[in-house]
C-alpha cells in the first residue's frame, strides 16, 4: 500500500486560495506517472472564506471511491488540521505550513512542518505561489519526479511565460526545502508506463455525452452544482451548431427544451433540486404530449436550499414520482465519471426512442469529482433518432398519437408534413382534446407501454446494461445500489469477499422503470439484502419494495458526504452474521 497506493487530502481556507488546484495538479501528476486517480472535493457554500478540501486517491488498479481516510494530509492552515484530523490515518503523513504547530497529532504519524507561507511570501514575494512550493515539497518527499509538475505548469499556463517562470521557481524552492528533511515515512511514487487515460469530471463527461448524442439545444439557469454545465454549453454548444440558452428560470428552461424538441432538435436542461422541483409541471406535460427531453438533476443536500455544495441522493422520490397524474418517465443514474458520459448518451437515445422525459440523477460528489477513465471512441456509439413522420405510408391520414404496439407513434416535425398540435389535454389519436372514458384509459396505456420498450433498450443498444449483477447467483448478503454510492459498494464487497463473506451486488443504473424481475430474483436469492443510499427516507429501497413487494434493509446517511467503504463493509458484516444465523 505505501507504494503507488494512497490517499492524499489537501485542506485550507478558500480565502487563501489554491487549495483545489494543489489537489488537481497532484491528481494529474500521478496520472502522468501511470497511476489511476479519483478525486473528491468539498467547498463552502459561501463565495469567499471557509474550508475547502480536495482528496486524491491513487493506485495502480482502477479506484472506485475517494478513500476513507487520508494517508497523506496537507494542511494550509491550522483550522484545516482541526477539520480533517478525524479522517487522518493514525500512522499517516501530515505535511503542514510551519506557520502553525498542529496539536494532538498521534505519535504514530510522521509530521513534516515546512515554512510554505514564509517561502512564498517572504523569500519569493509571491504569496499566490504557496501551492507550487507545496507541490515541490511533495515531489521531494515522495519521489514524484519534479519534471512531471514542470510539464503540467508549462501546459497549464501555456502562453504566459511570466507565470510559468515564477511557478517553476516556487516549485523548486519547495523541492529544495523538503530535500533538507529526513524521509521518515513509507509512502512513495514509483512511476509506471503511462496508460491511455482521460481525466474528466462528471459534469464535463455529461457535456461531452450530450454533444456526442446530438444535443442541439440546451436551456438552463445557474445552480450549484450544475452551473458549470450551463457555462460549458454557453461556451461550446454554438461551436457544434447548437444553441444554448440561459433563461429566466427553470420553468422556462424545461419549456424551451420541450419547444426545441417539438421543433425537431435534441434538447436538454441541467439543474439541481430546487430547479428540478420547479420543472414538475412541465415534466408532466412532456409525458402527456409525448415530447422527448433530457433533464439532468445533480442532487445536492436538501430539502429546500439545503446545503448547496454537499452531496445527497435524496431527489429520487421527486425524479420517479414527481408530477401530477400518472406520469411515465425514465430515470437513469450514473455512478462513475465514465458512466456520466454513457448514461447521457443513453438518456438521449431513450428519450428519442420512447418519446418520454428522461431524467438523469447525478449528484454533487460525482459532478465535481475527477477520475482517470478509458478513452472514448465516438465512432463506437449508437445514436438513436426519433421515428419521424415524413408524409409516407399513412394512407388513412397522419395521426400524431396513433395507437401502436410499442406505444411509440411517429412524430411530425414543424416545417415538414403532418402538422398537428402537441397536446397537454387528454386527446385522441389525432391529438384532439377528448374526454371519453375509454379514450383516457387507452391513451394512458399507450403512454405507459413505452416504459416496457425502455426496459428492452439493449435491443437498440447491444451491450447496454440497465443493471449489473456482481458476484455469485446466491449469497448471504446482497447489496443493491444506485448512483455514486456504487463505487464504495464495489470496494466494500471486494473487501468482504476477501474476508471470506458470501456477498453479491446489484448495481442499478436504470432506476425507473425498474427491472422488476431481476430485482425480485436478486432479493429472493440473497440471505439479506442491504440497500445503502445517501438519503433519510430510504427512497430507492421504498421504490424497490413498492415494485416488488419484497423487503430490503435500508441503510441511510445524510451528512452531505459520500459513504465510506468501511461503513458499508461494516453493514455487510452485520447482515452476514444475521444471514448466517438465519441460514
Amino acid at each position: 500500500m505505501p507504494v503507488n497506493e494512497f490517499t492524499i487530502r489537501v485542506g485550507g481556507d478558500t480565502l487563501e486560495g489554491g487549495i483545489i488546484r494543489t489537489g488537481e495538479f497532484l491528481a494529474h501528476a500521478l496520472a502522468r506517472c501511470g497511476l489511476e486517480i479519483f478525486t473528491f472535493r468539498t467547498y463552502p457554500a459561501e463565495i469567499k472564506g471557509g474550508q475547502a478540501m480536495i482528496q486524491v486517491r491513487t493506485a495502480e488498479y482502477p479506484v472506485y471511491s475517494h478513500g476513507d481516510e487520508a494517508d497523506i494530509l496537507i494542511c494550509f492552515d491550522e483550522e484545516s488540521w482541526e477539520v480533517h484530523r478525524d479522517e487522518f490515518r493514525y500512522d499517516g503523513v501530515l505535511i503542514h505550513d510551519s506557520k502553525f504547530e498542529p496539536k494532538g497529532v498521534p505519535g504514530t504519524a510522521t509530521v513534516y512542518g515546512i515554512p510554505f507561507s514564509e517561502i512564498a511570501k517572504i523569500r519569493l514575494r509571491n504569496p499566490m505561489a504557496k501551492n507550487m512550493t507545496i507541490l515541490g515539497s511533495f515531489s521531494a518527499l515522495f519521489g514524484l519526479p519534479p519534471s512531471v509538475f514542470e510539464g503540467l505548469i508549462e501546459s497549464y499556463w501555456a502562453g504566459r511565460p511570466h507565470i510559468v517562470q515564477s511557478n517553476l521557481t516556487a516549485l523548486k524552492a519547495g523541492y529544495e526545502e523538503a530535500k533538507k528533511l529526513e524521509k521518515k515515512d513509507p509512502f512513495w511514487v514509483e512511476p509506471r508506463p503511462m496508460r491511455d487515460r482521460l481525466i474528466l469530471s462528471g459534469n464535463e463527461a455529461i457535456c461531452y455525452g450530450a454533444v456526442a448524442a446530438g444535443c442541439k439545444v440546451f436551456a438552463g439557469y445557474p445552480i450549484t452544482p450544475s452551473s458549470d454545465i450551463l457555462e460549458w454549453m454557453m461556451t461550446h454548444l454554438p461551436r457544434f451548431g447548437g444553441t444554448p440558452l440561459q433563461v429566466e428560470d427553470e420553468i422556462s428552461a424545461i419549456g424551451a427544451v420541450l419547444g426545441a424538441s417539438f421543433a425537431g432538435a435534441k434538447a436538454m436542461t441541467a439543474t439541481s433540486g430546487p430547479g428540478f422541483s420547479l420543472m414538475t409541471e412541465f415534466i408532466s406535460h412532456a409525458a402527456m404530449a409525448e415530447i422527448p427531453c433530457v433533464i439532468l438533476n445533480n442532487q445536492r443536500a436538501g430539502p429546500s436550499t439545503g446545503m448547496p455544495t454537499k452531496t445527497e441522493q435524496s431527489d429520487l422520490y421527486q425524479a420517479v414520482y414527481g408530477g401530477h397524474g400518472d406520469v411515465p418517465r425514465i430515470v437513469l443514474a450514473p455512478s462513475t465519471v465514465q458512466g456520466c458520459f454513457y448514461v447521457t448518451v443513453h438518456a438521449f437515445n431513450l428519450a428519442e426512442r420512447c418519446q418520454l422525459p428522461v431524467i438523469i440523477l447525478g449528484d454533487q460528489a460525482l459532478a465535481h469529482r475527477t477520475e482517470t477513465i478509458l478513452p472514448i471512441d465516438l465512432n463506437s456509439l449508437i445514436i438513436i433518432n426519433r421515428d419521424v413522420y415524413r408524409g409516407d405510408g399513412a394512407e388513412d391520414g397522419y395521426r400524431r398519437y396513433r395507437l401502436t404496439e410499442t406505444g411509440v407513434s411517429p412524430m411530425a416535425i414543424p416545417g415538414g408534413p403532418g402538422a398537428y398540435s402537441a397536446e397537454g389535454l387528454e386527446h385522441n389519436e389525432e391529438g384532439h382534446p377528448n374526454w371519453d372514458q375509454e379514450n383516457h384509459m387507452t391513451m394512458t396505456q399507450k403512454r405507459f407501454r413505452k416504459l416496457e420498450l425502455a426496459l428492452r433498450y439493449e435491443e437498440d443498444y447491444p451491450g447496454f446494461q440497465g443493471y449489473r449483477w456482481y458476484g455469485p447467483e446466491r449469497a448471504d448478503v446482497g447489496v443493491i445500489v444506485w448512483g455514486s454510492t456504487a463505487g464504495a459498494v464495489r470496494e466494500a464487497t471486494y473487501l468482504a469477499e476477501k474476508e471470506g463473506l458470501s456477498v453479491a451486488a446489484l448495481h442499478m443504473s436504470t432506476l425507473y422503470p425498474l427491472h422488476r424481475e431481476v430485482v425480485r430474483r436478486f432479493i429472493l436469492s440473497m440471505g439479506r439484502v442491504l440497500l445503502p443510499e445517501l438519503n433519510y427516507t430510504g427512497q430507492f429501497a421504498h421504490l424497490v419494495r413498492g415494485e416488488t413487494g419484497l423487503d430490503v434493509v435500508s441503510y441511510n446517511r445524510v451528512t452531505g458526504v459520500p459513504f465510506k467503504v468501511r461503513e458499508i463493509l461494516d453493514a455487510i458484516r452485520d447482515l452476514a452474521r444475521e444471514a448466517v444465523a438465519a441460514r
Binding site: M194, V211, R239, L245, G255, G259, F282, A412, S421, A422
Partner: protein, 284 residues
C-alpha cells in the same frame, strides 16, 4: 390585402371551435386565417403556441403546427422552437391571465430577447375558462366571482409593459374588426422581432365588453409617431381612449440574428467543434 375565401380554408382544421357563440376569439381566428392567407404561408411552416384558457384552444382550430402548452408558458416553448428552427413562423396565443398573471415573467423576458415572433394577446379582462375571475386587466371597478367587492389591486396595461420590456412592435386591435386585426397581424408577422398584438376580445359569457370597446376604441391620429418609445408608453396607457393601431415600432437585433453571431464569435475564438479532438485533449 385581398384574401379569397378558399385560401382561408387552407388554415381551418376540421375541429369545430368550442367557443361560445359570439366569443371575441372567433374574430381573432378569422383574422389570423386572413393574415396567413395574405402572406401565403404554408401551414406546416407555422407553429402556433398557446397557453391554457379559452384562448388556449386556438391552435387546434387551425391546420398549422400547434403546441398547446401550459398556463402562462407560451414564451419558453416558443423560444425553444425558435432556437431549434429559426426559420419557422411562430405565433403565440395567450389570454390576459396567461400572459400577465402566471406568465408575466416569461412575457417580459421574451420581449427582452426580441424573439422574432408574433404574440396575440386575447384580452377579455378576466379568466374565462375557469368561469369568470378577475385577471390583471380586469377593471378596478369590475365585479367578478373572485372580486365581489372590487379588487385589492390596480390593473396593468400590456402594451406599455411590452414596450418597456423591449418588444419592437406593439399594436392594439379589437376582435370585432377582423379585417383591421388581420392587417395588423400581417405587419406583426412581417416585423423582424418581438411583435405584440393586443387584441380586445370580449367574453360574451362572463363580461361582455363589445359595447364598451366600440365606444372606447379610437384609431391613432395621422402623424402619430410609433418610433417614440416614451410617447408610445403614454399613448398605450391613456385612461380615456383605447387607441388601436401600431403603437410602437423599434429596431434591435433579434434573438434569431444573435444565434449565428454568437456561433461565429465562438468559432473565431475556439474553433469549430470537434468532439473527438476535445476528448483526446483531455488525455492524461
Amino acid at each position: 390585402m385581398a384574401v379569397d375565401a378558399k385560401v382561408r380554408e387552407k388554415y381551418k382544421s376540421e375541429v369545430k371551435p368550442i367557443w361560445c357563440p359570439g366569443c371575441g376569439d372567433f374574430g381573432v381566428l378569422t383574422a389570423t386565417f386572413m393574415a396567413l392567407g395574405a402572406l401565403n404561408l404554408p401551414p406546416e411552416q407555422v407553429v402556433i403556441v398557446s397557453g391554457i384558457g379559452c384562448s388556449g384552444r386556438f391552435p387546434g382550430f387551425t391546420t398549422c403546427y400547434g403546441f398547446h402548452s401550459l398556463h402562462g408558458r407560451t414564451m419558453p416553448v416558443a423560444l425553444g422552437v425558435k432556437a431549434a428552427n429559426p426559420d419557422l413562423t411562430v405565433i403565440a396565443v395567450g389570454g390576459d391571465g396567461d400572459t400577465l398573471a402566471i406568465g408575466g415573467n416569461h412575457f417580459m423576458h421574451a420581449c427582452r430577447r426580441n424573439i422574432n415572433l408574433t404574440y396575440l394577446l386575447l384580452d377579455n379582462n378576466l379568466y374565462a375558462l375557469t368561469k369568470g375571475q378577475a385577471s390583471p386587466t380586469s377593471f378596478p371597478t369590475q365585479v367578478t366571482d373572485s372580486t365581489p367587492f372590487g379588487s385589492y389591486e390596480a390593473d396593468v396595461e400590456p402594451c406599455a409593459l411590452a414596450i418597456l420590456f423591449g418588444a419592437t412592435f406593439v399594436a392594439r386591435e379589437f376582435s370585432a374588426r377582423a379585417k383591421k386585426t388581420a392587417e395588423i397581424i400581417v405587419q406583426a408577422i412581417e416585423h423582424p422581432g418581438f411583435s405584440l398584438v393586443h387584441i380586445l376580445s370580449p367574453c360574451v359569457t362572463f363580461f361582455d365588453t363589445y359595447d364598451l370597446y366600440k365606444q372606447k376604441i379610437a384609431e391613432l391620429p395621422e402623424g402619430y409617431d410609433p418610433t417614440d418609445l416614451y410617447g408610445a408608453v403614454r399613448t398605450a396607457t391613456d385612461p380615456e381612449r383605447k387607441w388601436v393601431g401600431v403603437l410602437y415600432r423599434g429596431h434591435r437585433p433579434t434573438f434569431e440574428e444573435m444565434i449565428p453571431k454568437i456561433r461565429q464569435k465562438a468559432e473565431e475564438k475556439l474553433g469549430p467543434g470537434d468532439l473527438q479532438a476535445m476528448l483526446d485533449r483531455r488525455r492524461v
